[in-house]
Symmetry: C2
Subunit: 635 residues, 2 copies
């Protein structure tokens, strides 16, 4: 029997990390031909954006996909980042688990030092060909170009050739070219979709996508880089007991008090007192004297004591305005009737990792009312296209009883259905992905709960909107009836008693108590002409401002009576005070490339009248007047 | 700018595999407290079963879970395997990516050399405590006991203590004890469920589960070990181009022909000729002279040339009989009306890896008819409890339009609903799990398609059964009507004409053309008495054998008229030839522990009558007469 134990034991040996990932390439996102292309592009673009943002450079990224052969493509990603010094190029591109951000606690796209090396590895595995990398740093007037493969047995680069090349059109930057096996598809899981969604949440980047003969440019929409994230210390709440035990053993701090204050974020001496009292441990205790049971008491105490939420500067949420803008940009074709004010939650913590959830919701219009609602998922500003059903965002959506918010949902469980699209973004110093492929966020309860809270926020706005819609619909019906019938009654009565038909404005004012707005836009040869007719059927004087979205940029305002104020993104008319029963009409004309520009969908907003006393227009949205970035798909 | 490139580059460094997995512990199955316990037990039991089977020892496994504190448990797994030699113990338990089966191409539960070391790592991370391992090999009369942790920075074991201990009750075996944070739950995702399902597909193992004060024994049901799997050479179909390129570069073979025959499985010199002709490459070519494009041609050619399916001896399917038995064992409470003959497909290949799919299906009886059908998922004889929606088995089930097989399914898509349970087993030399947690099988198209084919096989049997059921139901109704009404008519007619009521058997025989069987079992004090009444209402002589399942083992047959043949698992009565219109009655009595044993559900089968001419019993199932293993939950 000894011989069997020995025989089996003799076969035990170390497995190389390279061979491990080569075999488990599906964990890295290379589990289907379509996905392989998306993953290769994604890893390149993630690195490019991270590098540019760290160097505070406005990103200019070029992605190329060239068909080489049946199921073989050449994928190239080029950036204007700071470049990589010669001695580091090979390791960055052909060594797994090699990176700069693994130990930092702050939000970034790449973290594990696997991504782009996995692309190189998959390229050589599937096509047998090396990757060509070119990089130039500012102070050199030449670039380095290398042809590299990854030696999976040793997990280190094999440099096949190394050259000095001129790269005159670039001051600095990095480009790689990899042959990979793949399949180019369109639709929800395509490279195009990935880049489009990337552009939505990264409006500071210019992304050019060349796919064989076609070129698509996602233009830069803002010159402002997202705030640079800072590395922070760990947050104690939810940290693993084993990690704390390791920390007290290795710290140089003399007492528990300074240990807690200095090695964790957001702990003051005041908080230490509360923690130590709750735990029943002297704050002067030397960390090296602490037993496992003491550490456990400290962790238990942190659950009960109030500790500040983590710093926000390690995170870079997209923020309300850009979420709304992003949604508007994708969805403009659908003319949704309602954009819920996006929710950006306060940062929270899971297992010591700060994270922050943002949600946007759009409802109605021409969005398809059949089938499940649409979901746009993002993690650290990176779109998630695959494994939707395994994602915490989906879990959270399914956990909510959407029926109470006015949406259809079979049995109050599962995906709600109806004309809506939900955007969810999770930003974290460490997004808990279900696998290295970073397709889906794991069902960590803290994260799921935060997403649920944000969803409920948006859902409540939607319910208010839907209810308000019902009330306003009723009011409008009443108003329209009165508006149509009262004149007829007046006319008939007047005829009977042989008097002149009386003016009805005052009666209407008494009955209705609303401001009534009517817009009309119509095409008039090469021009569009519009009127906005405002009538004050309330008993108060009204100081009203009228706002109108600026139509497409290649249209020109020819005339307007009265004169508006041109406010960049919109026109504003400041009207004179309107007395009860009085009205005013605005008239204007537009010119321009009207072939493609249909103005009838343009929105008019009113300032100076409460929502409940307004018919025919909406009140000014919260974020109106802020200059919004514009994302465009060009050419 | 150079300084930024340099500054960023300076932060680039290697990341330890230990730290990588410590951070990404959810990839290893430690993503929730409930799951942590299941994962810890699973990794231990997988290793135990693999070790016993390799050493050809009938496995005797003990799993213990002791509550230590709020959310802290002591998990122990003990086996009677061959044991681990002293010098290897620490590495096996506290070094990630260390194992014996990574490079072997054959079916086994563990493969990557991560599992049990991940348990040790999660234990120390979550509770700060080391794992205690004890192991004894046959030739030593003492065991080695070690207290170990895993140094994640270096990915190597830290041995805290090492002792020699007696372990008199064990000749050889291994035991480990780990404190882990977790949550003990019952239900579908519990340790109990995991062990029960493990017992179903591993009837050669005795598994004892001690959970605090409760002990459950899953008894061994067969003394026969599953066939030992053999390591095979890779199959060329679907192998990666990059792998082939690497192989031609490193081989010692002088020509392409001997290279292909010797380094791949199932390629004969005859096949080589076909491949080389198709590829347009001389079979005498030296592998070292081959370009990437030549390798690509060879691979393309293998898609067109007929190559034998992979060897089956690297795989150990459960096989039809045990699948049915396993299902019967779990489902006996539901008394399903139909067990589809389980399908074991021929082995197939994905990306060069042999795999084999097996499916069982059970329908009707008291299975819940509301809601989705139940699914039992297994990979390499290991139950899969988590991530059902991300699993290839679920994809395959959803891909089928079950309505054409008589099951409800909304819109012909998604999970079918109705009183059915489907068992799917995928055996492979390399199961393509979606992550290291081995919760779900990735949607590899070859695998999904094979599962679909097997499902359709079972579904067709089910449809035949349902249709037959309808036909037989009609026939039975007709028969019952005739059986009830004819005597009444006969009696009345006889009374009218003043004659004796005639015997109706011959008329019945003419009208019906069936053999009618009626069983009754009733409790009679401490005994059960039964009758089986067989009537031949056909026009032929019938040589009939009657089979009855043997009731629970602790019951005893006291008497039977006629005498049966005792065939191990069942009784068999060989009846004398039954002439048309004749009948025979079998009477018997059982004794034993009848408190828990309800005999009314026992099945009776008839041999010698076609299914379409039989009412009241089923024909003999295909696998009947084979000695079946029995799986029991004891105490």
């Amino acid at each position: 029997m000894e011989s069997i134990a020995e025989k089996l034991a003799g076969k035990q040996k170390e497995i190389s990390i390279g061979e491990f990932f080569e075999r488990n390439k599906h964990i890295l996102g290379f589990d289907s031909l379509t996905k392989s292309l998306v993953t290769a592009v994604k890893e390149g673009v993630d690195n490019a954006l991270d590098a540019c943002e760290e160097a505070e450079i406005l990103p200019e990224i070029m992605v190329e996909i060239h068909t080489v052969d049946d199921q073989e493509y050449l994928v190239c990603v080029e950036d204007n980042g700071p470049g990589i010094p010669k001695r580091k190029i090979a390791d960055v591109f052909a060594k797994l688990l090699y990176g700069s951000r693994f130990h930092d606690i702050r939000q970034s796209r790449g973290q594990q030092g696997i991504g782009v090396s996995a692309v190189v590895m998959y390229g050589q595995l599937s096509t047998g060909k090396p990757t060509i990398v070119r990089s130039k740093v500012l102070e050199k007037d030449y670039a380095i170009e290398m042809s590299i493969t990854l030696d999976t047995k040793k997990n280190k680069p094999d440099i096949i050739s190394k050259d000095v090349v001129l790269w005159e059109e670039k001051e600095h930057g990095t480009r790689f070219e990899t042959h990979i096996e793949g399949l180019l598809r369109s639709g929800d899981h395509s490279v195009f979709e990935y880049l489009k969604n990337t552009a939505i949440v990264n409006p500071h980047a210019k992304i050019t996508y060349i796919c064989d003969d076609e070129t698509i440019v996602f233009k830069r929409a803002t010159e402002q880089l997202p705030p640079k994230t800072k590395a922070v210390k760990p947050h104690i709440r939810g940290i693993e007991l084993g990690t704390l035990v390791k920390m007290v053993k290795s710290t140089d701090r003399r007492n528990l008090s300074s240990f807690l204050v200095n090695e964790f974020s957001r702990i003051s001496y005041r908080t230490v007192k509360d923690i130590c009292t709750e735990a029943g441990i002297d704050e002067k205790t030397s960390p090296s004297d602490m037993e496992i049971s003491d550490c456990k008491k400290i962790l238990k105490a942190t659950e009960k004591v109030k500790i500040m939420a983590p710093e926000t500067d390690c995170l870079a949420p997209i923020k309300s305005m850009l979420i709304k803008k992003g949604l508007k940009n994708v969805l403009k074709g659908y003319k949704p009737e309602f954009y819920a004010p996006p929710t950006t939650r306060e940062p929270s913590v899971y297992a010591g990792n700060p994270f922050q959830v943002e949600v946007g919701l759009v409802y109605g219009g021409n969005l398809p009312s059949e089938g499940a609602v649409g979901v746009l998922r993002f993690a650290n500003r990176v779109p998630l296209l695959y494994k939707k059903s395994a994602c915490a965002t989906t879990t959270a959506i399914k956990n909510i009883d959407w029926r109470i918010y006015g949406m259809d949902q079979r049995g109050g469980k599962g995906m709600p259905s109806g004309p809506a699209i939900i955007l969810v973004h999770v930003a974290s110093t460490r997004v808990p992905f279900t696998s290295e492929a970073k397709d889906a966020i794991a069902d960590i309860s803290e994260v799921v709960e935060e997403i649920e809270r944000a969803l409920r926020d948006c859902a409540r706005s939607m319910r208010t909107h839907l209810n308000k819609g019902k009330r306003r619909k009723k009011m409008a019906e009443k108003f329209m009836v009165a508006k149509d019938i009262l004149p007829m009654i007046a006319e008939k009565s007047a005829a009977i008693v042989g008097k002149e038909t009386p003016s009805l404005e005052k009666v209407m004012t008494k009955i209705m108590g609303v401001v009534y707005v009517e817009n009309s836009f119509k095409k008039n040869g090469k021009k569009w002409s519009g009127t906005i007719d405002i009538n004050n059927y309330t008993s108060k004087n009204r100081k009203i401002n009228v706002y109108m979205e600026k139509p497409y940029p290649d249209t020109v305002l020819i005339s307007s009576e009265p004169e508006p104020i041109n406010n960049g993104d919109h026109l504003k008319w400041k009207l004179d005070s309107l007395k009860p029963s009085k009205g005013q009409v605005i008239q204007f004309e537009y010119n321009g490339d009207l072939e493609k520009n249909d103005l009838t969908g343009i929105e008019v907003y009113i300032e100076g009248v409460p929502e409940t006393e307004l018919i025919g227009a909406d009140t000014l949205p919260d974020d109106w007047g802020i200059e919004m970035a514009e994302i465009k798909e060009g050419e």
